[in-house]
């Protein structure tokens, strides 16, 4: 029940592909010829299709979303006095780079979320209009409540007032339809280990054609070694050092598996309703955003701190959940739970029986106050 952190289980093919990759000769990313299979390029093609991107080479591959977000936030040409607009729903992978930018004179303005963790497009637009930022950052979905934001509308608002738009798809890619080119998104970060069903150590950044970031990380690329700077062409412009080839074999296997086995959204929604209705029926305080929503749910059990309840659920009942501020400290006041929440996050593999097990355990807690 912790898929919003790292999805589990994975399709069998993921582990098999990774095991094969470490046993055979390493590939030659950026160094091989036409006969070499370049797992990074294969993964890029699958990702481009999933993101609605026509040029796979605009996707730089690294180790996770945090890497991609750092490349975007520190690579974008911000200067002292510039404004960046973000939201209270951002994860620390965005917030901590922003705190550092503030130290160099960049102003950061945060748009509050509503009581379900969603950013209202009209409020976003008003704030963009008022502060005229150079860059806007939006969490596509709250990792605390699952509320999915209207990225297309908010990207349009950012562009209408001259700002670039960076989308954090850490929670959504693989679960929510994404059309980056159609929406006009300038940059978008993603990770492989959540709803893409891939392994940890995979993720990256899409950068729209026409944008050139100043690479945050520099180093060897296997090409143009005589240059003192990173080569200009994407994706190698942002890809310093040897990539995580075994994990990208795993991610590629996951992407292909997901393409062949699309998730049944109706079943996932039914499980979410079963969980939310059940928890509310027991007397829990449940955050229930309207659709569209990720299969993520935050709640508290009256009479228990979230930490206390989470420990009991895990230690006494083997229910793996996450408790606390969920690396999104700005959101807790907006959703009226300043002490944090218990978060359950489902996957396409979560069964009705597993939900019943959770509800039975929570009922035990509620009846033992």
């Amino acid at each position: 029940m912790n898929n919003a952190a790292t999805s589990w289980p994975k399709p069998e093919e993921v582990g098999e592909a990774m095991a094969k990759a470490v046993r055979r000769l390493p590939g030659a990313a950026n160094r091989g010829g036409i006969e070499d299979v370049n797992v990074f390029d294969e993964a890029r093609r699958e990702l481009a299709s999933l993101m609605g991107v026509s040029c796979p080479e605009r996707i730089a591959l690294g180790c996770n979303s945090t890497w991609g977000l750092n490349e975007a936030l520190f690579g974008w040409p911000l200067q002292e006095g510039d404004t960046v607009l973000a939201t209270n729903a951002e994860h620390n992978s965005v917030l901590r780079p922003l705190y550092r930018l503030e130290q160099s004179g960049v102003r950061v303005v945060y748009v509050p979320a509503d009581e379900t963790g969603r950013i209202r497009p009209e409020r976003w637009k008003e704030t963009v209009q008022k502060y005229r930022p150079r860059l806007c950052v939006l969490n596509h979905a709250s990792n605390v409540t699952g509320a999915v934001n209207d990225a297309e509308a908010m990207c349009a608002s950012a562009h209408a007032y001259g700002a670039a738009f960076l989308l954090d798809m850490s929670q959504t890619l693989g679960c929510v339809p994404v059309r980056l080119e159609k929406w006009g998104v300038d940059m978008a970060a993603f990770t492989g280990h959540k709803y893409l069903l891939g392994p940890q150590g995979t993720g990256g950044l899409y950068v729209r054609q026409g944008i050139s970031l100043r690479p945050y990380m520099v180093g060897g690329t296997g090409i143009k070694s005589d240059l003192k700077e990173m080569p200009d062409e994407m994706p190698v412009h942002l890809e310093a050092g040897t990539g995580n080839e075994p994990s990208y074999h795993g991610l590629l296997a996951a992407l292909r598996w997901s393409r062949e086995h699309p998730a049944d959204r109706d079943i996932i929604s039914a499980r979410m309703r079963q969980l939310a209705d059940g928890l509310a029926g027991i007397g829990c305080q449940v955050i229930r955003p309207e659709e569209p929503c990720m299969p993520v749910l935050s709640f508290v059990i009256p009479g228990y701190t979230p930490e206390e309840a989470g420990d009991i659920l895990t230690d006494s009942y083997d229910i793996i959940c996450r408790t606390g501020l969920h690396c999104a400290p700005g959101l807790m006041k907006d959703i009226g739970m300043p002490q944090g929440t218990i978060r359950l996050s489902l996957s396409r593999f979560t069964s009705e029986k597993e939900i019943e097990t959770v509800l039975s355990a929570v009922r035990d807690l509620a009846e033992s106050v």
Binding site: Y317, L325, G340
Partner: protein, 92 residues
Amino acid sequence: MEFRCKKTENCFAGARTYEYELPVTGKELTRLLADWDIRENHRFRRPVFSARREGMEIKGILAARVVKVNFTEENWEEEKKGLERWLEETEA
């Protein structure tokens, strides 16, 4: 008694939480914690306990040998040293 200690992941503000692996169960530990406020709950699938004193809390499964300790934000280093000294000086 001998013990192993590890900081645990905890996303709460100001959390100072560590796990201790002990040579005794949680139940046996509670018998050694003479001046602590001890509570047990046997209604859960694996019964649990908590022991509280001056803002510190030791908790876990009664039948398990790993317990979790929450120290206070203000004085956690002193409390941690004190608990570990007490564990070292206490016979299992």
